[in-house]
């Protein structure tokens, strides 16, 4: 059960949003509940000070100024690291990158017209419902950290991991993205499970993503087209 918190200083709009959320909850029968619907930043802060579980937050950033919105969201994020923060704002130019990277906001809804807002609220709640339930049953998602950057990684999406030219860093390759994290292949291997095989000093590959093994040149072709190396010592273990 996830609590929903709404913070919006315009009374009419606040009632509107509350209505939209309620409608969606009833229609889709999500097990979420509106716990707080207020215009006061302090009440939200008090709530997060005493919270007992992660929540869903709909915030209007225009609360006085952009900076206040950031501060409030940062505060919430500190107290509720896994909560879902969604911003609703009339700025067509709001700092969505800042919010996304500073507080990992889930989404931004622009107050253009009421129908749009309703649809977007529905979409957000649907998305949260999907992740929330798949997260609790999905053991394949691990969190990889690189200093201040958190990556949610589904192990099944990882094609291979290689060492980076930067010392003490490794590069994770997925189909649609690549990112660096600090660490080394040896330490991360246990967390990834038995499908991952260390084929080379610099490569840790996902067996399920192997397309073809070139034994002669000791090169492994992965499903996304990339090539990994295998060393003399380890290629034997792969052929099996």
């Amino acid at each position: 059960m996830l609590p929903i918190i709404i913070c919006e200083d315009n009374d009419i709009q606040r009632e509107n949003f509350k209505g939209f959320v309620k409608d969606t909850l009833i229609k889709e029968d999500y097990s979420f509940e509106i716990k707080l619907c207020t215009n006061s930043v302090d009440k939200v802060k008090d709530y997060v000070d005493n919270l007992d579980s992660s929540g869903i937050y709909f915030l209007d950033i225009d609360l006085k100024s952009n900076i206040n919105g950031i501060r409030l969201a940062e505060y919430i994020r500190k107290k509720d690291p896994r909560g879902y923060i969604i911003f609703i704002t009339s700025h067509s130019e709001m700092s969505f990158l800042t919010f996304k990277y500073k507080v990992e906001a889930l989404d931004f809804i622009i107050k253009d017209n009421l129908d749009e807002i309703k649809t977007r609220i529905e979409q957000c709640l649907k998305y949260i419902h999907e992740i929330y339930y798949s997260k609790t049953t999905n053991n394949n998602v691990i969190i990889l950290k690189n200093e201040d950057c958190l990556h949610h990684v589904d192990i099944n999406n990882v094609i291979f991991i290689e060492t980076s030219t930067n010392a003490h860093k490794i590069i994770v390759h997925e189909e649609k993205r690549q990112f660096e994290i600090s660490g080394n292949l040896k330490d991360i291997a246990p967390a990834l499970g038995s499908n991952f095989y260390r084929s080379h000093r610099a490569y840790l590959i996902n067996r399920k993503k192997i397309r073809e093994i070139d034994k002669k040149n000791r090169v492994i072709h992965m499903t996304n087209g990339e090539k990994c190396l295998a060393s003399f010592r380890y290629i034997g273990g792969l052929i099996k």
């Binding site: 800042t98 990277y101 201040d148 950057c149 930067n166 993205r177 990112f179 996304n224």
Partner: protein, 439 residues
């Protein structure tokens, strides 16, 4: 018998030394296999020419080195010729030096057992040392290729002159049948001082080049800041005009309301206010980089984003906190963002959305730069784009992303992430804040 054996050994060593020094000078050291292979081939050729037509030997060496340069190292014709000449000259100079020193050490004992050995060792040591030095000088500045070529010509010229001096001295002495060792020593000292002088001059010239380039960069930067200021002023002007028009509109609306002329009000609203609304929504030049406090960076980014704007790209800049320091070298940062923004602009020009977002956020102990651009659905996969030399734009391109990776590889406090999702290409550069005094 002994002579023949000696010649064979000498040719072998010569071949090997030439190949190794070649690797050092062009800064692309050969693998063991390549060294063995190329070295033996060359030694063979030298040996053959030694036993047959001695005069052909230098030519054979030059041609062989040229072939290696052109086909194995893949240099252009001019560079191949230059490098083969440089390597040959380097070798002959060091050979002469070795010869000279041997004379000094062994004097008249021409058939001393150790003579060939010491001779080869000395030549080898000098050649390796000189080639490494030359290699270092040639690759010193990382800024422009043009100045690199100049430096090479300069060094080549110097070495050529030294070689000429040495040869003339040697030949003259031989001709005059000079036996006095002191003349040779004097020559040696002269020669060494000249080499030192030449190297020193190259170094100074290099420094001058670098300074010159810095000046050029600075003036470029000033031009960009100029362009940026003009843009801001232009924006300010349109803002002022808008405020003025807006005030008028409000007054008119006020008038209609006071007069209770609601129909006319509706007409007025439809005809005048709705049209200005479209002005609010078109974002021409509506971005500001006022939070970037680093001048050269601001200039570069402004210039790129203005170009983007001129190409009808929707630019959005999101920098809400002041950035006074970045934790990588400024020149590297400029190259980095130059490449990334160029890529972004080129990619999103071809799309319908034409979105380009540039943001910078402090998160915890790091500063993240984000560049997002809309991209076509048939964008090649990420690893392809990162390959050196891969490009959809033809020859000479494709160095971008691999260069970015190289630049960032030098900084252990930086991280580079790429993602392609839902038609948006996103690059993140994370820089951990460190307490180091960088420029």
């Amino acid at each position: 018998m002994n002579q023949a054996l000696l010649m064979i050994i000498m040719s072998f060593c010569t071949g090997l030394i030439l190949i190794i020094t070649l690797g050092n000078i062009v800064n692309k050291p050969f693998s063991l296999l390549e060294k063995g292979l190329f070295g033996s081939c060359l030694s063979l050729l030298i040996g053959i020419s030694c036993f047959t037509i001695k005069i052909l030997m230098p030519f054979i060496i030059l041609i062989y080195l040229f072939i290696i340069n052109r086909f194995s190292c893949k240099f252009s014709y001019i560079k191949s010729i230059m490098f083969s000449v440089l390597v040959s000259i380097n070798y002959f100079v060091c050979d002469a030096l070795g010869n000279l020193l041997c004379r000094i050490i062994f004097g008249k004992r021409n058939d001393h057992m150790l003579l060939p050995l010491i001779y080869i060792m000395l030549t080898y040591i000098f050649a390796i040392f000189m080639s490494k030095l030359l290699g270092k000088i040639i690759s010193r500045d990382k800024i422009e290729d043009i100045s690199k070529n100049n430096t090479i010509y300069f060094i080549m010229g110097n070495i050529l002159i030294s070689f000429v001096i040495v040869s003339i001295n040697y030949i003259t002495n031989k001709f005059l049948n000079v036996k006095d060792i002191r003349i040779y020593i004097a020559n040696l000292i002269l020669f060494i001082s000249f080499i030192v002088y030449a190297i020193f001059m190259s170094y100074l010239y290099n420094k001058y080049n670098v300074k010159n380039l810095e000046l050029i960069l600075k003036s470029e930067e000033l031009k960009k800041i100029d362009e940026y200021s003009k843009t801001i002023e232009h924006l300010y002007e349109s803002m002022r005009k808008f405020k003025h028009d807006y005030k008028n509109i409000l007054l008119s609306i006020n008038y209609y309301i006071e007069q209770k002329q609601y129909d006319e009000l509706e007409q007025y609203y439809k005809n005048n206010v709705l049209t200005t609304k479209s002005f609010i929504e078109t974002n021409d030049y509506a971005f500001t980089l006022k939070n970037i406090k680093i001048s050269p960076l601001k200039a570069l980014i402004a210039s790129k984003l203005i170009t983007a704007n001129n190409n009808k790209i929707n630019v959005f800049v999101d920098i809400t906190e002041e950035i006074e320091k970045i934790y990588i070298d400024h020149i590297d940062a400029i190259r980095l963002f130059g490449i990334l923004l160029d890529n972004a602009i080129e990619a999103c020009i071809e799309t319908e959305d034409k979105k380009l977002n540039f943001g910078a956020v402090y998160r915890g102990n790091s500063l993240v730069f984000i560049i997002e651009n809309s991209c076509l659905p048939d964008t090649p996969p990420i690893f392809r784009l990162m390959e050196k030399g891969y490009s959809t734009k033809g020859e000479g391109h494709g160095m971008g992303l691999s260069n970015v990776k190289e630049i960032l590889g030098n900084y252990e406090n930086s991280t580079f992430n790429i993602e392609v999702a839902n038609g948006i290409f996103r690059v993140e550069i994370w820089m951990r804040l460190i307490d180091v005094n960088l420029t």
